[in-house]
């Protein structure tokens, strides 16, 4: 038989003014199972908590109801007090008669009636509470970082410097990400590679970082503290242990006309290649789609070209190398897969994007995107840092930048702002004016969003001191006449259409998450928005956590981010990971689902609705060891306690602890006439 104690708090005047607290305590005395019901001015005070503890000891309470403020306020306080008196803390619940009653009603009579109702529902709930124990799970104190751009590099270094091992997985042949492609960085105009490459080398040399470049995450199993990750190490066709990075192989490769990904198609590379001189690891990779030997093999012809293998003094070229799968145990995962630009070319239909035919991207050679401009401006780029237009290699004297291409455009692109374009366009105009002294840069913009330290000053400098012409308005159409690009726009400040000529046009295209982010997110059971950006657990208060415990997010895979943002997020994930790794075991609230094995029919509706992949299949065997039934099992380490499974279960064979059907039923009964 339940022995419930009810403690009604006046909260000074806060509750007492509109609720007859003594009356509530008296009314609750008549509820079956209530053996103790009192009111007090401040239940959360030390004497108030002592009242609870004393009553538990003296009256042998089996449950505690504190009618006071919101459980979000003081549930922890009173559960601690309850535990202090030797009663299981989960036998204590709060009835919210302040936020949900005294503060929102003026009529004392009505408020008192409601307070009694509220308290009675919780009394009925607590009668059906059972003791629960905090869940303790062991933690593997190693982290996986997915993505080797600046965010991934920063996260890996911070975690490794914090004393924990890190596996860094990078899809491409080298780490460095988009930042390695940039010329200078806003708002300081320091050289991107100069600040990045030391960090890349640090990653490579760090004793606690294991770098898997040219690798991808194949599958992820497990849960917070206990992930098992399979990584596909794609075949480079080069033996990493033998290669000394001399580069002789790339010199002799006959196929030299392959558009370089690193140079955004503006430069060329060979079929066996190192993407850029500072690549880490400094290993060549054979592009099997472009290598003559592999192209011949695909057609069933014998191997002819082996020039790279012949040139290699170390015998490191291995045309028969296969992909390898390696498995790693980790306790936490940082997702830092970065971004791609809205490509205005032919691959749009796949993504349901309509593209921008009106700008002639892909047909007019001198219409390029922001990253291509970075490569033109970069000293390591295809033009050695000279601004030369792709069509005829001439220096453009009139250059036009279009902002918000694909951004803030729900019709053809993304409704969001890509955040970095205002700044990098301002930077581009400066780089251009520094390099082409008699040139004129013009920018079409909608707003200038320069929110960041030194950002507004930077963009004003581009206009006020460096002479960039800013025209507010979007461009309607561009076409080519001779070697001139005609631009039709509108100057909304002057209220007039504008027709102007340009020698080159740079489109500041929208930032989008990397292709394949959805597949990765599904492997990780983390949610992503309609654009594919990974959802954070809370936009304000948990910005680098995902809703899946133990998985964190950094950089532009979460939303458009610039370098300072990405680095700050990465360091934040590192602090979260190191916090998680501070103890060998981690503790979780026991609000998790639990399957009634006798009743479960094994329909796995629960599995379908579980957003966390917490439901597993469990074999029920007879004495001979034959599987007689397969039923659901909820892994308490993974379950987050939403209870969707229970509402979905047709036979109610899964129960959410702390919110069982019995408890809810009790509450509904209590409200009955």
């Amino acid at each position: 038989m339940a022995r419930i104690g009810v403690f009604v708090c006046h909260c000074g005047e806060n509750i007492g003014r509109t609720v007859d607290c003594h009356g509530v305590a008296e009314a609750c005395k008549d509820v079956p199972g209530v053996v103790h019901s009192v009111d007090y001015k401040y239940m959360c005070s030390d004497p108030g908590q002592q009242m609870v503890k004393n009553a538990i000891a003296e009256k042998g309470l089996t449950g505690v109801v504190v009618a006071a403020c919101s459980p979000h306020m003081h549930e922890k306080t009173f559960r601690r007090a309850t535990a202090g008196a030797g009663l299981n803390p989960f036998l204590c619940e709060m009835a919210n008669v302040r936020e949900h009653c005294s503060w929102i009603h003026e009529d004392r009579e009505k408020a008192t009636v409601k307070a009694v109702d509220i308290t009675k529902t919780i009394i009925e709930k607590v009668k059906r509470n059972v003791p629960l124990n905090t869940i303790r799970i062991p933690v593997t104190r190693r982290a996986l970082v997915i993505g080797g751009g600046i965010a991934g590099i920063q996260a890996a270094l911070d975690i490794a410097d914090g004393g924990r091992e890190v596996i860094l997985v990078e899809k491409g042949p080298s780490i460095g990400g988009h930042m390695s492609q940039l010329s200078e960085t806003f708002p300081t105009l320091d050289c991107s590679q100069c600040i990045l490459t030391p960090r890349m080398v640090e990653v490579y040399q760090h004793p606690r970082i294991k770098l898997y470049a040219y690798s991808e995450v194949e599958s992820v199993e497990g849960y917070i503290g206990n992930f098992k990750v399979t990584v596909r190490r794609k075949a480079r066709s080069v033996d990493e242990d033998k290669c000394n990075g001399c580069g002789a192989c790339t010199q002799v490769c006959p196929n030299k006309k392959i558009p370089s990904e690193f140079d955004c198609g503006l430069g060329k590379r060979t079929a066996i290649y190192v993407p850029f001189p500072q690549a880490v690891p400094n290993l060549p990779t054979v592009d099997r789609n472009k290598c003559l030997l592999f192209m011949n093999r695909a057609k069933g012809r014998p191997d002819t070209c082996k020039k790279c293998a012949d040139a290699c003094a170390k015998g490191a070229i291995d045309f028969d190398q296969q992909d390898r799968l390696v498995t790693e145990d980790v306790g936490a995962i940082v997702v830092a897969t970065g971004y791609q630009l809205y490509t205005i070319g032919k691959d749009q239909p796949k993504d349901n994007l309509k593209g921008y035919g009106e700008y002639g991207y892909g047909t007019i050679p001198d219409v390029i995107d922001g990253l291509q401009f970075e490569r033109l401006a970069s000293a390591s780029g295809p033009t050695s840092g000279k601004i030369l237009r792709p069509s005829d290699g001439k220096e453009p004297k009139r250059i036009v930048f279009l902002q918000c291409i694909g951004s803030r455009d729900p019709q053809k692109g993304m409704e969001y702002c890509s955040k970095i374009c205002c700044m990098y366009v301002a930077k581009h105009t400066m780089l251009y004016h520094h390099k082409v002294h008699d040139g004129q840069a013009t920018v079409f913009y909608m707003d200038i969003r320069a929110a960041g330290k030194g950002y507004e000053e930077f963009s004003r400098r581009a206009i006020e001191e460096e002479g960039a012409q800013y025209i507010r308005g979007r461009v309607s159409r561009m076409w080519r006449e001779g070697d001139v690009i005609k631009i039709l726009g509108f100057d909304t400040l002057e209220g007039e259409p504008i027709e102007m000529d340009a020698d080159m046009v740079v489109l500041a295209t929208a930032m989008r998450p990397q292709p394949g982010i959805d597949a990765l997110a599904q492997k990780l059971s983390v949610s992503y928005d309609q654009h594919g950006f990974i959802n954070e657990a809370h936009p304000k208060l948990r910005p680098v956590e995902t809703n899946t415990a133990g998985i964190f997010v950094a950089g532009a895979c979460q939303a458009p981010r610039d370098i300072p943002d990405a680095v700050a997020m990465a360091s934040a994930t590192a602090s979260k990971v190191l916090g998680l790794f501070a103890n060998e075991m981690l503790e979780r609230e026991p609000t998790v689902a639990c399957v009634n094995e006798a009743n479960c029919a094994g329909c796995f509706h629960c599995e379908r609705v579980c957003a966390y992949g917490a439901v597993e299949h469990k074999d029920i065997k007879d004495r001979a060891g034959n599987v007689v039934r397969v039923i659901a099992y909820v892994n308490p380490g993974v379950c987050q306690g939403c209870g969707t499974c229970q509402a979905t279960c047709p036979s109610k064979s899964v129960e959410l602890q702390g919110f069982t059907d019995e408890q809810i039923w009790g509450e509904i009964q209590a409200l009955g006439v």
């Binding site: 029919a601 329909c603 379908r608 039934r629 047709p650 036979s651």
Partner: protein
């Protein structure tokens, strides 16, 4: 029919299966049959009186078949949806059953009827049914009639009810549901109701009062409708077996309409197609939410 019998005989004599589940002629019309010998295959029939959904025999709640070993089942196109549902919901492994599809042009309502299959006698669920054969089947036999296009009487009744004021609908359903004796035949016959222990039998807490009175009846039929939402294969068995003649098909059909209109979903005979309840789209309509 010869084709069906020959196939069944072959499967049994070759030992591919230990039993064939189909229909035979019984004293009161067509009835389900378990055939375990090659000779027995000659008793198998299939015609417009074979209304029973045999898929419910595959449900793990009915272990009879399982004890016989591997079985073959004769399958109407509509029954294929039920089998697909059981596969989808992990109740039977696909490789544990051989499916003999029969081409179908509609059935009548009562297996004991001698009436021919006509526009007047055809079961309401067959009106407008586009499926002449089940895609899930391993073998497909027979020939199909053209099917029936005529207007569905249930759909008309649903429209009529929808047009009436809420009090009229309430009165209609109260008068129907008060007849329910809670025999649970609707549950027993339903191929998609396979829980070992039904919610209606649970006592802690008792969401659904078990004795036959208006309140418990309401709760039961609401629960049943919700559990079948997006899962009901419209085999019509619940309504056929109801001893009180409650038009249960109206409820399941109504829910199927809702699911079809809101989520563009029709019960599929492809086990890989997920049911609409248990999945979602971020842009699902939510006009009813403030």
């Amino acid at each position: 029919m010869t084709e069906l019998r020959e196939l069944a005989r072959r499967l049994l004599s070759e030992g591919t299966v230990n039993a064939v589940l189909g229909w035979e002629e019984g004293p009161r019309g067509a009835r389900p049959a378990f055939v375990t010998t090659p000779e027995g295959a000659d008793t198998l029939i299939f015609d417009h009186r074979c209304v029973h959904n045999l898929a419910s025999y595959l449900s793990p709640r009915r272990p009879h078949l399982k004890r016989l070993g591997k079985v073959a089942m004769v399958l109407k196109p509509c029954d294929a949806r039920a089998v697909a549902g059981l596969i989808r919901e992990t109740q039977i492994p696909r490789d544990k059953v051989v499916l003999i599809g029969v081409r179908c042009g509609g059935v009548i309502t009562d297996p004991d009827s001698t009436a021919p299959l006509t526009e007047a006698t055809v079961a309401d669920r067959c009106r407008g049914c586009p499926d002449r054969e089940g895609h899930l089947a391993d073998h497909t036999v027979g020939t199909a009639g053209p099917g029936f296009a005529g207007p569905s009487k249930r759909a008309q009744k649903i429209e009529e009810l929808a047009a009436a004021p809420a009090e009229k609908r309430w009165a209609f359903w109260q008068s129907e549901l008060e007849k329910c004796v809670r025999c649970h035949a609707c549950r027993q016959v339903c191929p998609m109701c396979y829980c070992d222990r039904c919610l209606a039998d649970k006592t802690q807490p008792r969401w659904i009062e078990s004795s036959p009175h208006a309140r418990g009846n309401m709760a039961w039929h609401v629960a049943r409708a919700m559990h079948l939402a997006g899962r009901c294969v419209d085999c019509g068995e619940c309504e056929r077996v109801c001893p009180e003649g409650i038009p249960l098909g109206l409820i399941t059909r109504k829910i199927a309409q809702v699911v079809s209109e809101r989520y563009d979903f029709r019960p599929s005979d492809d086990p890989a197609v997920p049911a609409p309840v248990g999945t979602y789209r971020m842009d699902d309509p939510q006009e009813f939410i403030l």
